[in-house]
């Protein structure tokens, strides 16, 4: 009896090992789809457009990295409310008339399938003098006055993307504005005409048009072939929430356009993939990718660069908070980074700069 039980246990052990290994082999080969289901692909149909052209009005958020970082440190660190940080606006050699502030803004020209066109202004920069010059250079000021721009989409509340709103509202006070959920009271007050002297910030032109707050976790259609997606990202300087734009270009695929992408470019692409129809093919990317904005590097960014090609990106426009170092590494990794022209105070041709354009479609 003892021998029989021992023999049974031996057989059990041998069979158990064989069964375990056999199932491991089967699950990674012939039965792979049973055990590891293919990732869900989105089914939200945002429609289709003919083409998207993005003009970089300004990608120079500030002129001196060290100064902007020092401003934040002197105020108490990265968690301090941006509306009470005394940003350096004089005595900066590289600055615009001594002011370190610049700003980020892009003009998106969307051509629909029926040939009609829409214009989206993504973000409005920071320093109103600098933004006035940039808007004049690209004709945005005239477009605003003539009400040719359909909507101002604010990607997030950060100083370099939003504090220059006076430059927009002085030309078109009733422009429709879309913000992501998370804007603070100060942001809404600024739109209404408030001023924040400590931060050298004001708006003398109260917004009189429609204002829409977009909830996170959903795809929000904007125009045929165009939508926004908002994220509940907690960001430095007491900012919450960011939204990005996604376009579906006919015969090409989806295009992701961001302001700063604080939620992370991989998170943004994954969200598009899981929510938007056609998300298995991301044709293009444009905007700030927030990888090494202060030209610092972390080994995790190497993983990020290695992950990007798996989305099938064919056209990669980036600038601003992406970092020149990131652009160099992406180019070395064979990613299709579109080069710029280094004009109008953009420093290098490594990526799209002020006044540069990128077309999808």
């Amino acid at each position: 009896m003892g021998v029989s039980r021992r023999g049974f246990l031996k057989g059990l052990a041998l069979g158990g090992t064989t069964g375990y290994l056999a199932m491991a082999g089967a699950s990674s080969t012939v039965l792979k789809d049973v055990f590891i289901p293919p990732a869900a692909v989105g089914d939200f149909d945002i429609g289709t457009c003919k083409s998207v052209k993005c003009t970089v009005v300004s990608e120079t958020s500030w002129f001196n990295n060290k100064r902007v970082v020092q401003d934040m440190k002197d105020a108490g660190g990265l968690l301090v409310n941006q509306y009470i940080i005394p940003w350096s606006n004089t005595g900066v050699k590289e600055g615009y008339n001594g002011n370190n502030a610049g700003g980020y803004s892009a003009l998106i020209d969307l051509e629909l399938l029926d040939g009609s066109k829409k214009k989206i202004l993504l973000d409005c920069g920071w320093n109103t003098e600098w933004m006035d010059e940039c808007f004049k250079r690209e004709g945005v000021d005239k477009m605003l006055k003539n009400k040719e721009i359909d909507v101002l989409v604010l990607s997030h509340e950060h100083f370099d993307h939003f504090f220059g709103v006076e430059s927009v509202l002085k030309n078109c006070p009733d422009i429709p504005i879309i913000v992501p959920k998370g804007f603070y009271k100060e942001g809404f007050d600024l739109l209404k005409g408030a001023s924040f002297p400590v931060a050298h910030l004001k708006n003398d032109y109260p917004h009189t048009g429609p204002l829409e707050v977009r909830e996170s976790g959903k795809v929000h259609p904007l125009f045929p072939g165009c939508a926004t997606i908002s994220f509940d990202s907690a960001i430095i300087c007491r900012v919450l929430g960011e939204q990005g734009l996604v376009f579906n270009v006919k015969d090409k695929g989806l295009v992701a356009i961001t302001g700063c992408c604080h939620m992370g470019i991989i998170s943004f692409l994954e969200e598009i993939k899981h929510r938007v129809k056609g998300g298995d093919k991301i044709y293009g990317i444009q905007g700030g990718l927030h990888i090494s904005p202060f030209e610092d590097w972390d080994p995790q960014y190497d993983d990020l660069i290695q992950a990007l090609p798996s989305y099938g990106v064919e056209v990669l426009g980036c600038n601003h908070c992406t970092g020149y170092l990131t652009a160099e590494k992406m180019i070395l990794a064979g990613l299709p980074v579109v080069q710029g022209t280094a004009r109008f105070r953009s420093k290098k041709k490594l990526f799209l700069g002020n006044g540069d354009q990128i077309v999808f479609g």
Partner: protein
């Protein structure tokens, strides 16, 4: 005698208890199946930490 004992030992070493083996086969395969189901559920969960 010793030779017979050696032959007996060798024979019992080579014998497989087939009921035990098949029971183990099912158990082992089942154990792996449960493991991979748990892991894939966690991997592809959008809410799990």
């Amino acid at each position: 005698m010793d030779e017979n004992k050696a032959l007996e030992a060798k024979k019992s070493w080579m014998d497989i208890n087939w009921p035990g083996f098949f029971a183990g086969l099912v158990l082992g395969a089942g154990l792996f199946y449960i493991t991979i189901r748990i892991i894939s559920a966690l991997m592809f969960s959008r809410t799990a930490a």
